[in-house]
Subunit: 195 residues, 2 copies
DNA sequence: TCTTGCGTTTACCGATCGGTCAACTAGACT
DNA sequence: AGTCTAGTTGACCGATCGGTAAACGCAAGA
């Protein structure tokens, strides 16, 4: 699963073969199929584990850390940036958001994989919302803020930032675009858009 | 190239084979290689043509249409939504942003393809910036607005919105997230983020 | 009529894909 | 000692991948 992670994150689902995964893991192909029914299940399990780590090591610490919402966003962006830069140093490729990338690539081919990625994206969104709810409770955001909706926007922008970073293969893209996140989340939002 | 477009947009680069393209186009495989050196070139040429149409039929009309910046953004989002919905009806799959998806998928494998997609993304960003500059000239945005930076944010959010729409395979996701775009572009931005 | 050359057709190339299977190994338990 | 079983191995499967090449059709020009 570690080999799978390293390859799938930095390449893509379709371009990573069982052969490559097994070679990197030092395992014969037959052995793999003793534990996993197939490639799809292997990748789903791998990203399930990845999400667990991501939530425990990035989402929770950053979004429940010290300071107000602004500081937590900054910590969150910093943690993402560090992870992306670390992966790029280790694998030579910047992965972007694994869940988003996989959802996009397999969304039109593998329903199970897409559903799994959707679930992880939903979980991330829920974490965002919790952070926003906390900010509302502390008076940092207007009490009328629709936190579900704002969390939705947060996730979309975050995915966009990571997509651009992967397209440019440059971790600093994340830092360049991070102010958009602050703008989106910290500026006061009127009650709707229509005048 | 029409067959290539229909397949590549809704599936992915890796999962679309020359055989499938030729079958759909009613052409024998050998004939294809008389006109294109290989799959990569075929796809690059196809997306080059697609960008041309996109600029002429979506970007220019929407972003230079009647009304102020708000109306133009609305027109832009509406045109994108219509295109996505049309593709979904025709192909059964919602494509998302072809340039973004391809840049993400091939970004770590095919330098030429990635460079081509980057070029198209840069061109889109330039169109965004032109629209923002016009808004500044008309006094709709603060004269101190950093339009290059704001266009950068616009593109990132747009890519995120289209990524989510593709992940969810639902064109209405675009409409759901569009208000984030209005918030990002139309709320006043202080001169930087640091207090 | 004969040549020229664009474009098509078809068979074929080696490589790789995900996945299968029967034989085998080795450690735990009786 | 004998049995059982989780796990390993390497050969093998058919399908498909992107790409090649020789033969062929055919219309225009000389």
């Amino acid at each position: 699963m570690n080999a799978t992670r390293g390859l799938v994150l930095t390449r893509s689902y379709g371009s990573v073969g069982i052969a490559g995964i097994c070679e990197r893991a030092g395992v014969r192909r037959g052995s793999l199929y003793h534990f996993f029914p197939g490639k799809e299940d292997l990748v789903i399990a791998t990203l399930e584990a990845l999400y667990g780590e991501f939530e425990a090591e990035v989402l929770q610490p950053a979004l429940r850390g010290p300071g107000g919402l602004r500081e937590r966003i900054t910590a969150f962006v910093g943690a993402i940036h560090a992870f992306q830069a670390r992966m790029q140093a280790a694998e030579g490729r910047l992965p972007g958001c694994p869940f988003g990338s996989l959802a996009v690539e397999t969304g039109t081919q593998s329903p199970r994989l897409r559903a799994a990625m959707q679930g992880h994206l939903d979980a991330i969104r829920a974490q965002f919302r919790a952070a926003l709810d906390t900010a509302v409770a502390h008076g940092e955001l207007d009490a009328r803020t629709d936190t579900a909706r704002l969390a939705d926007h947060w996730l979309a922008l975050m995915e966009g930032i990571l997509l651009m970073a992967r397209a440019e293969q440059d971790a600093d893209t994340i830092l360049r675009l991070a102010p958009a996140l602050q703008d989106l989340l910290l500026t006061t939002h009127p009650d709707g858009d229509a005048p």
